[in-house]
């Protein structure tokens, strides 16, 4: 699908997603057991996380191996701010703002140094590993920011729950679920909207051919930096949701967290938005079930899935599924999806 085709189908997709979110909000909190509700809230936080990389990598063409750095940073910023201020609304702003600011600094360093893809991947991966190491070593009373103890590898189990704005009442699991569903949907709609704006098209232009974009007068580095910052903010939001459904811990920075989000995007399809979210849900449910049954180590499943998709389904499921659908319905697509995926 190309940009114009996207803008044509975008509205329909967003409407469908809104319907799904609405159905979820109405049905699940009443029908599902608490355990399921909390789990789905967790999955949705991961879904937001998946979107952050789907936007950055799929549309910005920026290969970030350390997306978990922003995810963890958002959660820690939230926890520390909430403990210190006693108010979670401002803390939620921190959860998005701190990773975005950090990304602005890091991105300036990366993009204005004109580092190539691969180095970018390596450096972002290194950054998240640095966080992982640092936070893990913050056990003991000496490591605190204001009133908040960082807690080393234990994390911050006392992460305050989000309160309903302007009150001090913490959200119930059902309310948290609704908040997460709204966040996931809004992020999806935001990304969808973003890629058909003037800015979004320019970002795609830079992904397609940086030199040509610059010869047309686009400031490629600034565009990349901007999409990097937006993506980091979204990852921070995901961290905020995660912190409210589990709690804040250094595993958020870990290599396996960084790998998971990458796998969701690869499996869902690079250059798509819905696919990565779907893959995120499916794979999390699968690993949870497998983990509970104790038959296979989840790493084996994730590893195999990643290898198989990279080798055999390089476009990911969404394009593969769409192609299958087209064939089944015998619609001759005048422009197959390959154009968007093959880069």
């Amino acid at each position: 699908m190309t940009v114009m085709a996207l803008s044509r189908s975008g509205g329909v997709h967003v409407a469908l997603a809104a319907l799904a979110a609405l159905a979820g909000i109405v049905i699940l909190p009443n029908a599902a057991p608490l355990y399921t509700l909390i789990n789905v809230t967790l999955y949705m936080s991961m879904g937001v996380f998946a979107l952050s990389l789907a936007l950055l990598w799929g549309y910005g063409g920026i290969l970030c191996f350390g997306q978990s750095a922003f995810f963890g940073l958002g959660a820690y910023a939230y926890a520390v701010a909430a403990i210190n201020f006693g108010d979670t609304t401002l803390a939620a702003v921190f959860a998005i703002g701190v990773p975005a600011l950090f990304a602005a600094g890091l991105g300036y360093f990366l993009f204005y140094g004109r580092l190539s893809d691969v180095y970018l991947g390596v450096i972002t991966l290194t950054v998240t590993l640095i966080f992982f190491k640092l936070i893990n070593s913050t056990g003991g009373d000496a490591w605190r920011i204001g009133a908040a103890r960082l807690g080393g590898f234990n994390g911050i189990p006392t992460t305050p729950l989000l309160t309903i704005p302007f009150t001090r009442i913490p959200m119930s699991p059902a309310q948290m679920f609704i908040f997460a569903a709204i966040s996931l949907f809004s992020t999806y709609a935001l990304c969808k909207g973003l890629i058909v704006t003037r800015f979004g098209r320019a970002v795609i232009a830079v992904r397609e051919n940086e030199m040509r974009a610059e010869l047309l007068g686009y400031n490629a580095r600034r565009l990349k930096l901007a999409v990097f910052v937006i993506s980091a903010g979204i990852a921070g939001l995901a961290g905020l949701l995660f912190a409210n459904s589990v709690f804040v811990s250094p595993t958020m920075f870990s290599l396996s967290m960084a790998a998971q989000v990458l796998i969701w995007v690869v499996v869902g399809g690079l250059g798509t938005l819905f696919g990565p979210v779907a893959a995120c849900f499916a794979l999390q449910i699968a690993t949870a079930v497998l983990g509970k049954l104790g038959i296979v180590d989840p790493n084996i499943v994730l590893g195999l899935v990643l290898i198989i998709f990279v080798v055999f389904v390089p476009g990911g499921i969404q394009p593969a599924f769409a192609a299958l659908l087209h064939r089944l319905m015998d619609i001759r697509a005048d422009r197959p999806v390959a154009g968007e995926v093959a880069r």
Partner: protein, 288 residues
């Protein structure tokens, strides 16, 4: 004076260690432009191979220096055949697939070997400088690293096989039009690279112990060392090991080991910003 000597020996030990854990990755990256994210797991499996060898009654030196590299090299051949061969020229995909392989190997090792640290005793003891006691094994590591690098250099510089390797590295189209079969060169390279990672794992087993998830600790360090080194496999990796190893040791002495590691990663990141093509991309261009 003693203190100074101790720091110097420590630096030598860290440099040797860094060089050993990086060389396998460097060979594969330098020759094939493949970033092998399963590198840490190759090291881990080398460690397990050495330990199982010792448990089976094999002499520890043979287990570390022969069994470990050979078994991982064999694994490398299989991986190259089954996965990497399909992805040459797609750099990002090779990275992703090898990341998948990394997870798979961690999962398999956890399932079959258990999620706990196993170890073997170091085959040599310690010695004294003044009031300080130092492990003699660090010297063995540094010595082996030196041996690996100098023989690697000699191999690339002075033998016909080395010439073929360097030619393929610099221009694969040209090399293949001269009748060199890149697929064969790649298969051999991948096996050698994997074998060197296995060797590092075997040699590290007595000092760090072996755990299915241990690879994570090495892959980033090795990676950053190789990229800091730049285009030349041997010279670049050696130089960047010296640079980063020194920074690591000195900052560890001044602060804590965690800060030491962070300093290493940070230094490399800043370094790459200044010299995006690494040390040998600019300064020692053309060395093997």
């Amino acid at each position: 004076m003693d203190y100074f000597l101790v720091v110097l020996f420590q630096i030598a030990g860290t440099v040797g260690n860094l060089a050993l854990i990086s060389v396998g990755l460097a060979v594969i990256f330098g020759m094939m432009r493949v970033i092998n994210l399963a590198h840490g797991e190759f090291i881990m499996l080398g460690g397990f191979a050495a330990i199982f060898g010792v448990q089976a009654g094999i002499n520890i030196w043979i287990a570390m220096l022969v069994v470990a590299p050979l078994s991982v090299a064999f694994l490398g051949i299989v991986v190259e055949r089954l996965i990497m061969r399909r992805l040459y020229g797609r750099m990002v995909d090779t990275m992703l697939a090898s990341w998948g392989l990394s997870l798979l190997l961690i999962g398999l090792a956890t399932t079959f070997f258990g999620n706990r640290v196993v170890g073997i005793a170091a085959p040599v003891g310690s010695f004294q400088i003044g009031t300080y006691s130092l492990g003699a094994y660090d010297f063995v590591l540094t010595g082996i690293a030196l041996a690996v690098f100098s023989s690697g250099y000699a191999l690339l510089r002075f033998t016909p096989a080395g010439l073929i390797a360097r030619a393929t590295m610099q221009n694969r189209e040209m090399a293949s039009s001269l009748g060199i079969e890149p697929a064969r060169v790649y298969a051999i390279t991948f096996a050698i690279g994997a074998g060197l990672s296995g060797l590092a794992g075997g040699l590290l087993a007595p000092i760090s112990g072996v755990l299915p998830t241990m690879g994570v600790a090495y892959v980033a360090k090795a990676f950053i060392t190789v990229i800091t080194g730049g285009a030349s496999v041997i010279t670049g990796t050696a130089l960047s090991s010296v640079l980063l190893g020194s920074i690591n040791t000195v900052s560890t002495f001044l602060t804590t080991p965690v800060i030491g590691d962070v300093a290493l990663l940070l230094a490399a990141t800043i370094f790459l910003r200044i010299l995006p093509t690494g040390i040998t991309g600019r300064i020692f261009k053309g060395a093997p």
